[in-house]
Amino acid sequence: MDVSVTVNGTTYARDVEPRKLLIHFLRDDLDLTGSHIGCDTGNCGACSVIVDGVLVKSCMLLAVQADGASIETVEGISENGELTPLQQSFNEHHALQCGYCTPGMLMSATALLRDNASPSDAEIKKALQGNICRCTGYWNIFEAVKAVAK
C-alpha cells in the first residue's frame, strides 16, 4: 500500500506491506535507526515515537496506520545539531549507561515536558512508566528530567 508520512519534517512516500510495524518501517525502510526495538512486545518503550503529537510505541502500530501522519523520532528533537536541554541534562546526570533505552526515554520525557512544563516528581515517574531501563539507571534518568522541569 502507498504510505506517505512526514518524519522529523521530511516527507517520505513508500510502498509498504500492511503487516509491517511502524518501527520496522522507520528503521528498515527509512534508515532512521535511532528508535530501538527492545522487547517487541509493547513493554519496553524503546521504540517510542510521537505520532501527530501523541506518544506511542511504534511496535504496536502498523506503518500503514501512520499514512498521512507527522512523526517525530529521537533524530528530530535536536535543533541545528545542538543537544536539547533535555539531552544535555541526560549527559550531565549520567542518565544513560548502555543507551539502549535512551531514545524512548527521551521521547517520553519530551512528550511529558511539552504537555506539562512543571511536572511533579510523581508525574515524572508516571510519565516514564512505559520505558524500561535494564541498566537500572532510573534514578539518574528521573533526575535528568527533573533538572529541566520548571
Binding site: K20, V54, Q65, K126
Partner: protein
C-alpha cells in the same frame, strides 16, 4: 516482529466497517491495537483482514446527558477518558484508566478494545459490570443494546458477533464507586481486581477469578467478603497466584473497593 500477511482496510464509516466485517470471515476490527497487534506477533490471532476503526469520528467522543448518563464512543482512548471534563461525572472511569499500563498504551488503547478483548485480567470488564454499563452493538440488522452482564460471555468472547461492532457504552449517573487491584508491579497486569458501586446495596464485580466478571452483592461493605466466599468462585491457579490465594485476594479487594465506594 514480522506479522503474518494481512489485508488492511480503512473504512470511511461505521456502515462500511460493518460491511467489510460481514463480508470477510477472517476480518477483525482493529481498535487501539495495544492487544491485537501483540497477539498477532505471537500468532495467537491471525486475522486475514484488519478493519481499522481509527479514522471513524462516529466512534469517538464522550457525551453527558441531562440525567447524568455518559455515552462513550467505543474508540475513545483511556487518555481521552482521563482528560474529559464530561467523564468526571463518573470519576472512577478516569481513575481506573489512569492505572492501565503506561502513557503510550493509554494514548492508543480504547475503552471499546479493552472490553471487546475481554481478557479476564483487564480492568474495564468488571468496572463496566459494577457501574451497570449498557453496550450498543451495531450489525447488518441495526443496533441492539445489551447490559454489561450480558456482554461478557467467556475468555476473549463477548456478545459482539462476527460482522458486528461495539459502537458505544452508556454509563448511568453515580459517584459512589471504588476499584482495587493487586497487580504485577505498579499498575501492571492484574492478578485479581474488584470494582464496586454503592447504590443502596453494594455491588462488586470481580475480575481475574473466572472467564467473565463475577457479580457479588451485599447490604453493606462489611458483608461483601462473606458474600465473595459464599459465591462458589473457583479461580484459576497460575504462576502468579494459586486459586486459594486469588480467592483470598478477591474477598480483600472486594472489601477495599466497597469501602472506597461507600466513603464517597
Amino acid at each position: 516482529m514480522l506479522l503474518r500477511e494481512v489485508e488492511y482496510a480503512k473504512p470511511g464509516s461505521v456502515a462500511q466497517a460493518l460491511e467489510l466485517l460481514a463480508a470477510n470471515d477472517g476480518a477483525r476490527a482493529l481498535a487501539g491495537g495495544q492487544t491485537l497487534i501483540n497477539v498477532m506477533k505471537a500468532r495467537a490471532a491471525s486475522p486475514d483482514m484488519l478493519v481499522d476503526l481509527n479514522g471513524l469520528a462516529e466512534l469517538r467522543g464522550i457525551e453527558l446527558a441531562a440525567d447524568g448518563t455518559l455515552t462513550i464512543g467505543a474508540m475513545t482512548t483511556y487518555t481521552e477518558l482521563m482528560r474529559s471534563a464530561e467523564a468526571k461525572a463518573r470519576p472512577i472511569l478516569g481513575e481506573v484508566c489512569a492505572t492501565i499500563a503506561d502513557v503510550q498504551v493509554r494514548n492508543r488503547g480504547t475503552i471499546g478494545g479493552n472490553v471487546c478483548a475481554n481478557d479476564p485480567t483487564n480492568h474495564l470488564p468488571p468496572l463496566m459490570v459494577a457501574v451497570g454499563a449498557r453496550m450498543t452493538i451495531a450489525g447488518a440488522a441495526g443496533e441492539r443494546e445489551v447490559t454489561a452482564e450480558e456482554f461478557f460471555l467467556g475468555v476473549y468472547m463477548t456478545a459482539v458477533g462476527q460482522g458486528e461492532l461495539l459502537t458505544k457504552i452508556a454509563i448511568p449517573a453515580g459517584k459512589k464507586d471504588g476499584f482495587a487491584a493487586v497487580t504485577l508491579g505498579t499498575e501492571g497486569t492484574c492478578i485479581c481486581n474488584a470494582a464496586a458501586t454503592v447504590n443502596g446495596s453494594v455491588r462488586v464485580a470481580l475480575g481475574c477469578v473466572d472467564a467473565v466478571p463475577v457479580l457479588v452483592t451485599a447490604d453493606s461493605p462489611d458483608g461483601i467478603a462473606e458474600a465473595v466466599r459464599a459465591a462458589g468462585i473457583e479461580p484459576p491457579s497460575d504462576v502468579h497466584a494459586s486459586a486459594e490465594y486469588r480467592l483470598h485476594l478477591a474477598a480483600v479487594l472486594a472489601t477495599r473497593a466497597a469501602q472506597e465506594a461507600a466513603a464517597r
